[in-house]
């Protein structure tokens, strides 16, 4: 007889166990993955549904979403369907080995409907920004200063000519004034002489003496002034010579202004491309750093507290990792510039114990033909120090129009055109080495130069120079560490632009110096001619004006019948010419 009271409870236990395996195991695994996985990652892991088939040893996940810890409103990736074919034998040996897997509908960096919360500290700024102030002070301002420099300020010729003209004019004004004063005095003297000569009595000897002295002085002046005028005629030759010397000096000064110190191409490269390339590299390095930080460290799977004894191994078989994804095929899309780009690839060798597995994780991803992207990442955790290699190739990247530099200083507008990017990185521990090569084979530049640094004049010349630059090639040598990377930029743009700027500035200066030299020559010629003409005309005029007073003086001194002979007054003894004159025999002295 069957004892139902005994059998049914036992059967119920077995049925419950079977029901748990059939219906409860999958929800339990789903709960464990989402709960403990989220805690380990620091972001939400969500699985819409999970089916486990113990018979076919197969797992199927639908609607897998893993939030990005750095951006909670985005997913690190989302897969609409994940299929995992497990290794039965490994499963019996308490190891999870995925022989083949497939991730479909993979979307990287996808927007989430709800936030997957995590507050990671923001990545510190790794690369010091380009010091544009120093760049302006050291490079642009001197160049612009040279162009804005008042070249005339250092020229001596114009000043010399102005001084000379003023001096000569003053000199002749002085002589003219002297001649005029002399003529006035002569007029007054003539009147006095006429009074003396026509006097009925003997003139006052003192007055005669004064008049004689004045006559003598007047004569002396009349004799000196022509010589002064002639001396000035000689002086003009010397002055013309000094003006010519000044002209030579000025031309030498102007020629020296043409010596412009060439701009440093590397500095210009840094100024134009540092921000763009640094942003590109930093974004990439941030991704790498984040990815590396989220790669689980090689460790055993966590064991419950009471299972933390020692595992004793038997047999010769080497220990195997508990978890291996041998090969995963991935297909999906990632967002780039707001558009989803489809990609496909494979991931091999994912394990929780790379040290036991001995092989690196290899990720290979390709996108479509329109904007092809090839990524190969080798993540080696088998040794004591993590070693990663990353190769990214973008052979046909459609670069949108962009601006290099700053419009308030110097900027280059780059027209849209295809470009190629190749990045090779080698990370050993935290050490970083690698190279980023950016090539834009057919490129057009439109420069913008602020007025303070040359303005439209230099910009026009720069445009002509840059029309010859057809290619932009940038190489970024990376070194240092992941947290503190060092970048060394090399590009042909900087040197070409520096040469262009220098040439443009030099051409501009040359044109201005040429104009100034001609102006100096012209000015010198004109000033010298003017002075010579002034001297000639004024000298002739003055000499002519001096002839009349001389003649008048001669006439005044000439003996007039019936008048006092004035010359004789001068022959009087000095004692007589004084107070003794009234006592002198006037009759003997003066004849009528």
């Amino acid at each position: 007889m069957i004892r139902w009271g005994y059998l049914i409870p036992r059967l119920a236990v077995v049925a419950t166990l079977a029901a748990f395996l059939a219906f409860g195991l999958a929800p339990l695994v789903r709960w464990a993955v989402t709960t403990y996985g989220s805690r380990a990652l620091g972001a939400k892991i969500e699985i819409e549904s999970l089916q486990l088939s113990l018979a076919s040893v197969r797992a199927e996940l639908n609607g897998l979403q893993i939030a990005n810890p750095a951006a909670p409103d985005r997913n690190l990736f989302r897969a609409s369907r994940v299929e995992l074919d497990l290794d039965r034998e490994a499963l019996l040996n308490r190891r999870l080995v995925v022989r083949q897997g497939r991730l479909d509908g993979l979307r990287i960096d996808d927007l989430r409907e709800t936030s997957g919360a995590l507050d990671l500290p923001k990545a510190e700024t790794r690369e010091a920004e380009f010091d544009s102030t120093a760049f302006c002070r050291q490079w642009l301002l001197p160049l612009a200063g040279r162009l804005q420099e008042d070249l005339e300020r250092d020229l001596v010729t114009p000043r010399l000519c102005r001084d000379l003209h003023a001096r000569w004019t003053g000199e002749y004004h002085r002589i003219e004034a002297e001649v005029a004063a002399l003529r006035e005095r002569l007029g007054r003297l003539k009147e006095t002489v006429r009074e003396l000569r026509e006097a009925r009595s003997i003139p006052d000897p003192r007055r005669i003496e004064l008049m004689a002295a004045e006559l003598e002085q007047l004569r002396g002046q009349l004799e000196r002034l022509p010589s002064d005028v002639r001396r000035l005629q000689g002086q003009v030759q010397q002055d013309a010579e000094s003006v010519k010397q000044g002209r030579d000096h000025d031309l030498a000064v102007l020629r020296s202004k043409l010596k412009i110190e060439s701009l440093d191409g590397e500095t210009l490269t840094q100024y134009l491309l540092n921000d763009e390339q640094a942003a590109r590299v930093q974004e990439l390095l941030a991704w790498i750093e984040w990815t590396r930080s989220n790669i689980p460290q090689p460790r055993k799977l966590a064991q419950p507290q009471r299972l933390r004894g020692h595992l004793v191994r038997f047999g010769d078989a080497p220990p195997q990792p508990e978890l291996i994804f041998e090969q995963l095929a991935v297909a999906g899309e990632f967002r780039r510039h707001g558009q989803f780009v489809p990609f496909a690839g494979t991931i091999t060798g994912v394990t929780n114990r790379p040290d036991l597995y001995g092989q690196p994780v290899v990720v290979e991803v390709r996108t479509g033909w329109e904007t092809p992207l090839y990524v190969r990442a080798v993540l080696d955790r088998s040794g004591p120090t993590p070693r990663d290699q990353l190769v990214i190739e973008l052979p046909n990247l459609n670069m949108p129009g962009r601006q290099l530099g700053k419009p308030e200083l110097l900027a280059l507008a780059v027209a849209p055109s295809p470009a190629a990017v190749q990045l090779k990185l080698d990370l050993h521990g935290d050490g970083l080495s690698g190279q980023l090569v950016f090539r834009q084979p057919s490129v057009q530049f439109e420069p913008t130069l602020a007025t303070a640094y040359g303005g439209p004049l230099l910009q026009t010349r720069l445009t002509q120079v840059l029309a010859e630059v057809k290619q932009l090639s940038v190489t970024v040598e990376l070194s240092g560490s992941l947290r503190r990377p060092r970048m060394q930029l090399h590009s042909d743009l900087g040197p070409q632009l520096a040469a262009g700027l220098t040439t443009a500035a030099r051409q501009e200066l040359q044109a201005r110096v040429g104009q100034l030299s001609e102006r100096v020559e012209r000015e010198v010629r004109k000033q010298v001619d003017d002075v010579e003409q002034l001297v000639r005309s004024k000298s002739d005029e003055l000499l002519a004006r001096l002839d009349a007073p001389c003649a008048e003086l001669e006439q005044l001194l000439a003996a007039q019948p019936g008048q006092w002979q004035l010359d004789q007054l001068g022959d009087l003894p000095p004692g007589i010419r004084a107070a003794q004159l009234p006592k002198l025999p006037v009759g003997q002295l003066l004849t009528r």
Partner: protein
């Protein structure tokens, strides 16, 4: 609905079953074994299944399992060394080698020193515990069995629990 009174019902059943001390003794011995062995492995699952499947006193078994699970953690340093000695005993190495190359053996957790140590300790204590419990239960039965059963039957709570147990047994039996 009455799941929360199950432990009380099991206790009442244990008191009622004083006239079957062997069931109590096996319950205590198996409960001790289940309690000592760490969970999350196939060994613990099999032992648990045995505890729930065999015709033994489940109340005594579960209570002892709970008690030994708490006490077992204190014995881990000892069982770790004991387990290591068992696993590395030269005479047993061929057996372990054969065992751990078999399917599912990895799930047993027997390659862990604490698991095998606790299992060994439990198995070593199994018969002494059974024997002592059996003798004690029989002694108690002889002295206080009838008297205790009589006194207990007067309590309404016992009657209620006993009735619930009878009702469950009766309905399952049909």
């Amino acid at each position: 609905m009455l799941w929360f009174i199950k432990p009380l019902r099991y206790l009442a059943a244990a008191l009622r079953d004083l006239h079957s001390p062997r069931r109590i003794a096996w319950g205590v011995a198996l409960g001790m074994l289940v309690g000592l062995v760490p969970k999350d492995n196939l060994t613990a699952a099999v032992l648990g299944l045995a505890l729930f499947s065999l015709r033994i006193n489940l109340a005594a078994g579960t209570c002892t399992a709970l008690l030994c699970a708490c006490l077992g953690a204190w014995a881990d340093p000892l069982t770790d060394r004991l387990g290591y000695a068992v696993l590395t005993a030269p005479s047993l190495v061929p057996f372990w080698t054969w065992l751990f190359q078999s399917p599912l053996s990895a799930w047993s957790g027997l390659d862990n020193t604490i698991v095998i140590g606790n299992l060994t300790l439990g198995l070593w204590l199994l018969y002494p515990v059974y024997h002592l419990t059996s003798r004690s239960a029989m002694g108690l039965q002889r002295r206080y069995g009838e008297w205790l059963a009589e006194r207990l039957r007067k309590y309404r709570i016992y009657q209620a629990l006993y009735g619930a147990d009878l009702s469950t047994s009766w309905s399952l039996g049909r």
